[in-house]
Amino acid sequence: MAHRALDTPLALEAGGAAIADSRVMGRMALLAAAAFGYIVILAPLIFVCWLSFFSNEIVTFPPSGYTLRWFAHIFDQNNFVSGFVTSLQVGIAAMIGGLILGVPASVVLARHRFPGRETLNTLLVLPLVVPGIVAGTAIYVFQIEIELATELPLLGSLAGLVLAHIMITIPWTVRLLTASFAGFDRSIEEAALNLGATPVQAFLKATLPVIKPGIVAAALFSFVISFGNLEMTLFLIAPGQTTLPIAILQYLEWRIDPTIAAVSLLQIGLIGAGMLIADRYVKLTRVL
């Protein structure tokens, strides 16, 4: 009897330890999964950064030394510089165009119920699903047809490229902005109307400031998408002109040195800086 009485608390303790053990195991498993996820996401990024400082012209492991000359090399390549400028121009134009089209579209989608609304919503996301090569070919043919019919010099023009880029940025702009407008408390706009603001004033002074984070996010997304686009742009760019991704591809056809890693690092840094600056003004984390 005496030893039975002693047994019970011991058994309880063992049980408690087992529970604690399984909790620790669970936490470890979660941490491991998270760490694996982060490695998968960040590895290419870290690798590219690392690579851009290798001194070997042909990438070998381990590198025989480190250098900054690839960064200097970028600026000797006219293609990279002019490609960057073109990409920047197209990206900004596509961003502005995307917003001009996306804001009214999103207002209508978020605020009005009409037949075919769901269909329209789906159609607007479709450019995401169409492979870039296919879209590129299709737009190329389309632009030829338009040029033949109207004699507008669309093919190979910057305007033609921007229009195509707007098409692929629209799904992002519309999705982000629709979410912003749908989450917006319309009584705020009504309050402005009640206080004497015309509908336009109410939209500019009450609605837009409130959904600013959504707009900045949409602008940033469309810029990044346009800036990095390769497949579609290949079909639409004028002979002799390049965007940055095309310049990188052309460079890769002849050489595989760390210059492209250096270019990528600059590009990542530039866009990252853009995001940080934007984040100072609006909390992007709230919408992304």
Binding site: I188, A191, G196, V210
Partner: protein, 356 residues
Amino acid sequence: MARLQLSGLTKTYGDFQAVAGIDLDIAQGELVVMLGPSGCGKTTTLRMVAGFVSPTAGAIRLGGQDITKRPSWRRNTGLVFQSYALFPHLTAAENVGFGLRMRKLPQAEIASKVAEALRLVRLEGLAERLPRELSGGQQQRVALARALVIEPDVLLLDEPLSNLDAKLRAEVRVEIRELQRKLGLTTIMVTHDQEEALTMADRLVVMSHGKVQQIGSQRELYEHPTNAFVAGFVGRTNFLLGRVESPGLFRSESGLAIRCSEAASTHGRKLALRPERLSIASAVTDADNAFSGTVEFASYLGGILEYYVRLTPQDRLLVQAPNKIGDPVHAIGDRVFLQWPAQASLVLAEDGGSTS
């Protein structure tokens, strides 16, 4: 400041009549409360006055002018929203000044009016705070100041207190009422809270199913409800079903013969009894109506005692008795007598909204 007249104001959505022909004349400086359950059309009516909903038929006249077709930004109404609808990116002072900036007043005048409005709602020290840095009660006062500062012809309050806790609500009720009186503002308030309505109103409009059920003072609604809906919505009521057998006698479906006023309409199908108009005792005294019953539930609420008394298998009545010294406190299971004078028996028609 102006007189507000609604005539035949109607709003239909397809087959659904949200507001079915409201006639209401609100005097300059009067506070009228529209009271009713959700979906009764009170908010739609308010939004028609503000200009956010365009009426299907009828007219709105403000200060003698027909404003039915005027867009909301040219109406000069001051609306306090249920959600307050403050501009989240503007400070309290900028929120209050918004309407004045839209009216293109000189900067200096705006500043002094804003300061005065904030002082009126006792928020002087918080002018530079953003809405999210203010408590619910403070936000509510910013919304009120923002609506007052434009000197509206009519102040519109859409359930302005429903987001405040009970204690604050009781305070703000009195504050708003005092401000409204002081400024002499013509005001419509919408609420589903009858206590709020009774405390604040000069006159009440009880609505149901898009129709006005009754317009009157607190006392008129409580003592002379025009139908069972109003009697049930304002205050607590016992209902007995039955019909008027002969002048002055109501026969309930359960067989009780109840004395009522001889003037009572013979079309009445419901008898309403206010719980505090019934008296409860162990023995019969002289009264028009006296029925024996059994106490089924008793609550000691301090100031009053509440009982549920079973008279017949169908009829259980709520009785409120003042807690006076010397009065017996009855317990569950006690045999008691319920008594009331004939004038306390209100014979009423069915709910106006559902019958027509």
